[in-house]
């Protein structure tokens, strides 16, 4: 099996463009969640979301196009032989909304394959890309899939492009499901009352480690393990015992060849909904035999970026390992008992080499990644 590294990461997030800016804002405990004006929210249960500043759609295009351009400019050229994995849950949904409101039927441009082609063209890659749709675990699963391809020698470079936007389509749906927080969300807090939506565009370049060394490419972290599992419990609600997440994490530990004790920190999904956060703490309690390592979540800062959530969190997790520092979990003022002294609004210093990153989504899917610190 070949070793897989995360070589480069480019992103646009509600807290700024680029991992350096995002990291500084996260460490400073900032949040981008605020009332917004993209569409009217008077008929919804929340007026809060985390939107990217200056993201403007050009005549009839989707915001996803402007986002892609900003990410691609930041990323620069990628190897021409990259395999492309896209991870978006709703793609250019704002374009479909606009057409639908105008009474126009969808066109082939509204199909996911059109967005995959757009991403491939922007990064000068050949067609043949694939979108992985696994709800809010989409980019986690895409990174896992890309890593597996490299580990098996099927590719030596994989570009994962993950993106989703704050749209009225999704906002209204989460509002109808009573899942939105009417205030800034509070992941893992005893008083949490739901999630806030966010948006992000992220490009992650995965490389075969030997290739990275040969080409003197940067290395942000090693992707040491991965796993995916379904709760087989409910379509929209997580299994309360965390069975699917436990399975996915155990697969990730096994493929990384490590024991749970070697994990020094967790980047949790932490949506701020009652059931998700409780499920995660239950799963972590089981996985770590009650001795949960320091954990955090960034959705109190950037909102829930849907299919892009995992990719943003991988970029942040790699930086956390390098800096040996876990940013605060904004909004977690009074942590759940199971997370007491392990999560909160303060930074936490780390001392270790492996970080667990996980996400869960509708359809009962769970994805887990193990990132390993690479000391140059």
């Amino acid at each position: 099996m070949k070793q897989v590294v995360l070589s480069r990461a480019a992103l646009v997030s509600p807290l700024g463009d680029g991992i350096d800016t995002l990291w500084q804002q996260l460490v400073a405990g900032q949040t981008a969640i605020a009332p917004f004006e993209r569409f009217a929210t008077a008929n919804y249960i929340s007026a809060y979301a985390a939107c990217i500043k200056g993201l403007v759609a050009k005549g009839g295009e989707s915001l996803m196009v402007a986002m892609l351009e900003r990410v691609a400019q930041q990323m620069g050229p990628v190897p021409a032989d990259c395999r492309l994995l896209v991870a978006t849950t709703k793609g250019e949904i704002d374009r479909l909304e606009t057409r639908s409101r105008a009474g126009l039927p969808p066109t082939s441009a509204d199909l996911p394959e059109a967005f995959i082609r757009r991403v491939a063209q922007r990064f000068n890659l050949p067609s043949g890309g694939v979108n992985i749709n696994a709800a809010c675990a989409s980019s986690t699963i895409a990174v896992a899939r890309g890593a597996a391809m490299i580990a098996a020698g099927q590719a030596s470079a994989v570009l994962v492009y993950a993106a989703d936007i704050v749209s009225e389509f999704v906002f209204s749906g989460f509002s109808a499901l009573q899942a939105l927080s009417p205030e800034r969300c509070r992941p893992f807090d005893q008083q949490r009352s739901g999630l806030n939506l966010g948006e992000a565009g992220v490009a992650l370049l995965l490389l075969d480690e030997e290739r990275a060394q040969r080409e003197e490419a940067p290395v942000l972290a090693r992707l040491a393990g991965w796993g995916a599992a379904n709760d087989a419990h409910h379509v929209t609600a997580p299994a309360r015992d965390g069975c699917g997440l436990i399975l996915a994490c155990r697969q990730a530990f096994d493929s990384a060849g490590i024991s749970a004790e070697e994990v020094c920190a967790i980047n949790a999904h932490g949506t701020g909904t009652l059931y998700n956060d409780a499920m995660e703490l239950t799963a972590f309690g089981s996985l770590f035999d009650g001795n949960i390592p320091p954990l955090h979540g960034i959705k109190g800062s950037v909102g829930h970026c849907l299919g892009a959530a995992g990719a943003v969190e991988v970029a942040v997790a790699a930086r956390a390992l390098t800096e040996q520092l876990l940013p605060p979990t904004v909004g977690c003022r009074n942590p759940e008992v199971a997370g007491f002294n392990r999560i909160g609004e303060k930074q936490q210093c780390l001392n270790g080499n492996y970080l667990l990153c996980c996400n869960s989504g509708f359809g009962g899917i769970n994805g887990a990644l193990i990132l390993q610190r690479v000391v140059s």
Partner: protein
């Protein structure tokens, strides 16, 4: 990479079917009827009634496939993954949901329809009904052959400890869009690591040099695979 096809199920123009009870190969074209509960299950089923058309079509294909492999009944959850290729996905459900948003400026947005505006939700429905704990994902591709998804399923089987991977396609009509090349409906095959189910297997499926083979013969499409499976069954009988 290799596996054994142990079950085949579908929703085609003439309705639901499965390999071991089929009298002839089904046809997929630009017509289909979304499956009803009675096409699949004997007892009343509230949850089935809530599913959107895309989910019903996908779930029906999976149900028929598991039934064909004699894997429908279960006691302990099983490490079986599900992967589905789609072009249009749940776009019609998106449009139906959007209509509820537009109608009342958001006040009438349907939570039930919204729950099915992610195309992977029917895989979750299948997972909970049949205790399937493997990875579950929807694949949408730009170009490439439809059989690429079979290669990805064989990779998933080889790179994991799953007992099997259920893989196929699912398409339903979308207002304003042409019929995809596969036709409307769904087709799923269950690929297992060993040919051990009570019903035995249809044959061996392999991935070599990016080419899919069934019983050592190259395949060109899902329909080709289905024909080969049904022929293998007849030859054995």
């Amino acid at each position: 990479m290799m596996g054994w096809i142990t079950g085949v199920g579908w929703v085609a123009a003439a309705g639901c079917g499965r390999g071991r009870t089929a009298e002839a190969a089904p046809q997929w074209n630009d017509t289909m009827v979304i499956p009803a509960r009675k096409d699949l299950f004997e007892k009343a089923d509230l949850r089935f009634g809530r599913l959107d058309g895309f989910s019903r079509t996908g779930l029906a294909g999976i149900t028929m496939c598991l039934r064909d492999a004699d894997r429908e009944a279960w006691q302990d959850k099983r490490a079986i993954a599900t992967m589905a290729l789609t072009t249009g996905g749940c776009l019609q459900t998106d449009l139906d949901y959007l209509a509820t948003v537009v109608e009342g400026d958001g006040k009438l947005a349907s939570p039930n329809l919204f729950a099915y505006t992610l195309p992977n939700c029917f895989l979750g429905e299948a997972a909970l009904r049949f205790g399937l704990t493997g990875n579950s994902l929807i694949l949408q591709q730009d170009g490439g052959a439809e059989l690429d998804v079979l290669g990805r399923a064989l990779e998933e089987l080889a790179w994991s400890n799953y007992a099997g991977v259920m893989v196929g396609f699912c398409e339903v009509p979308v207002t304003g869009l042409p019929c995809p090349s596969s036709g409307y409906g769904s087709l799923f095959v269950l690929i297992e690591g060993t040919p051990e189910p009570p019903t035995g297997s249809y044959g061996k499926i392999t991935l070599e040099d990016n080419q899919i083979f069934f019983n050592d013969n190259p395949l060109a499409s899902f329909r080709h695979l289905l024909d080969a499976c049904l022929t293998a069954l007849k030859c054995r009988d």
